[in-house]
Amino acid sequence: MLLALTPALTLFLLLTPIAAGLTGTLLPAFGWLPVVGATRFSLEPWRILLVEPGLWRSLTLTLWTGFATTALALLLALALLATCQHTRWLERIRRALAPLLATPHAALALGLAFLIAPSGWLARWLSPWATGWDRPPDFAAFGPQDPWGVSLILALILKETPYLLFMSLAGLGQLPAGALLTVARSLGYGPVTAFLKVVLPQLYPLIRLPVFAALAFALTVVDVALIIGPSTPPTLAVQALRWFNHPDLHWRLPAAAAAILLTLLTVCSLAGWEGVVRLLARFSRPWLTHGGRGGAGHGFRRLALGAGGLALALASLSVLALFLWSFARRWSFPLVWPEQLTLENWSGQTHQLLEVGWNTFAIGAAATLLALLLSIDCLEHETRRRLTVSGRSLWLLYLPLLVPQVGFLFGVQVLLAWSGLDGGWPALVWTHLLFVLPYVFLSLADPWRAFDRRYEHTALALGASPIRTFWRIKLPMLRGPVAVAAAVGFAVSVAQYLPTLFAGAGRYATISTEAVTLASGANRRIIGVYAVAQAALPLLGFGLALWVARRRER
């Protein structure tokens, strides 16, 4: 059967674009890009990059937003777990996660911009009675006037906290966390201290890769930074993209150098983060056993729930603001609600929406289907051979999430253009697959491994063939996890911006690329339409998945 070849094929599909892409970025970074007539290796691109006046500012901004986002999001996620682990709040948090995870980060960033802009919803609530503004004030709370990228950090935290919470909850599921906490508490430890001293040291190794992925994402994200990040100078990823899109194609050489610089920066940042975590672990070791019991942690819990609630409120209001704008006809400042509602924003876009919607759906569906096939085949192979994915292959799976998109998608584009494959469907689906596959595999792996193989053995003993057993017994029993994994994969694909841009060679627009492109304009009604559409597609997917999962077997 083909089964034996699948793991190798999967790794090939994941790793070749990354390796080839990095090479394809490295070559122009050192002066070799025949398309623009550059055929001599040199350090000239680096010289141009290094004398760029905004470079150091870009670098510090990138590091600051990346580390601040990840540290705060991880802190909030762990604080919620530490203070709510033993309470009914945990279930409520779990339920609030799904819609937040499904909302694409670009839509959330656009909504947040609508909320906190000087003419945004929050300002409207406070105007003119509190602020005295009857016209939108003449400054921007984000964009050029937000040199420290506070809005960018906030937008990323809204997405990364649910992600880290979700991965931590999955990690806790692999530990006897409840029993360990009970033991520690019976020894007199307060619940929060018990979590920090007993559970966290065992949990962190299980969420190390997701934390790395979050840090790499925050350091290298393009779409959110384009929407809500500072622009003079922007983060390094956005700067690289600007040069790459420069009308003068020679700018692609320093663009490639910037992409390589960002890749190095990411590698160093991950190493630095890990170093700090290890230092913290070493220096906190005596604290673990010096006997301090800690208190009941009620104040700490209120603080964590307050911060979590604030994040949830901001995210919900952001989505609501998008929704309102997409139906608003007149909505002048400082009115809190639109004066008139209309369907025209939507109906005027029907043609365009259907076209980009179809592209989005088709790419997402194809990438998800492929990812499902490959993941299920790999997992089946693993079960039959009684192999488990070791730590090292898990790293390989995470690689597309750790290597900056800008870093290797540049090169992928260069290679695609060189081979004449750019702008084709296969290239588009393949690049989406790089990001869809890890998530689909990760969400399928646990249920697949937990499946009680005695059901299969029973069916086989009753005389069913292995193939029949798989289709009639195992797959129907696991249809819930399969449906959820498909929804996750689809949501990941819908949210992709850069892969579509680069692999599609600008020939294919998806809802994401449209929404991000529109974001630089000022028409909030149309932005609202596309952002709502972007958020609605994954939600539909999850709704469908839940329906499939709950449907009773005929």
Partner: protein, 220 residues
């Protein structure tokens, strides 16, 4: 080993219901210092639920009434960590990220001098027949060694009562007898009122104290 002293554990009219159906008739029970009372019954009779009520970890689905007093303190409404009730489970649940000695030190109260902490941990290691092996990874210990460390870790936290949730059921037969002696003797020496839940009558016999049998529930 210094125990918490001589407290009495009293259960007065304790009754636990699930969906308004009582699991067992109201229970009155006095456990004197150093005494081991065994609660027996088939699975589903509510004996483990009773233990979780004493510890303060009763699942919210249950309704419970009746008082639990320990040395004059009313335990009602107190969180687990303030009851001073030590718990031992089927599994030793040693913390895998800490060494054997660190697991023991985890039980010690705060505020002791460094020298005193080291002395008490060394004594406990000696008691567990693990002298000199404090630096070991708990995963390297045998089942019996793990169970002894778990008990001593609990005793180092100076509890005022001990609750044992089928602590011998995972041990093989030969080890079981030795662990019974080890645990019951320590409980007696420390003067701890001890509540033992088991379905093995040999455990009850070895405990030597009163035995209470909870009937099978209607749902069983």
């Amino acid at each position: 080993m210094s125990g918490g002293g001589s407290q009495t554990l009293i259960l007065a009219g304790v009754c636990i219901s699930l969906q308004h159906r009582p699991l067992f008739p109201p229970l009155n029970l006095t456990v004197h210092p150093g005494e081991v009372v065994t609660v027996m019954g088939p699975s589903g009779c509510g004996k483990s639920t009773l233990l979780s009520y004493v510890c303060g970890t009763l699942a919210p689905a249950f309704q419970a009434e009746g008082a639990v007093r320990l040395g004059g303190r009313d335990l009602a409404g107190l969180p687990l960590e303030r009851r001073r009730v030590g718990i031992l489970f089927q599994d030793a649940l040693l913390f895998p990220h800490l060494s054997v000695a660190e697991n023991l030190a985890f039980g010690l109260p705060s505020g002791l001098s460094r020298r005193e902490r080291q002395r008490r941990v060394a004594d406990a290691l000696l008691d567990a027949e693990l002298a000199g092996l404090g630096g070991r990874d708990p995963a390297m210990l045998s089942g019996g060694q793990r169970a002894r460390v778990a008990l001593l870790r609990t005793l180092l936290s100076e509890p005022e009562a001990l609750v044992l949730d089928e602590p011998f059921s995972r041990l093989d037969a030969g080890l079981r007898a030795r662990m019974r002696t080890f645990i019951f003797e320590h409980a007696r020496q420390c003067g701890l009122p001890t509540l033992l839940v088991t379905h093995d009558s040999a455990d009850a016999q070895a405990a030597g104290g009163p035995v209470i049998t909870l009937g099978a529930s209607a749902a069983d």
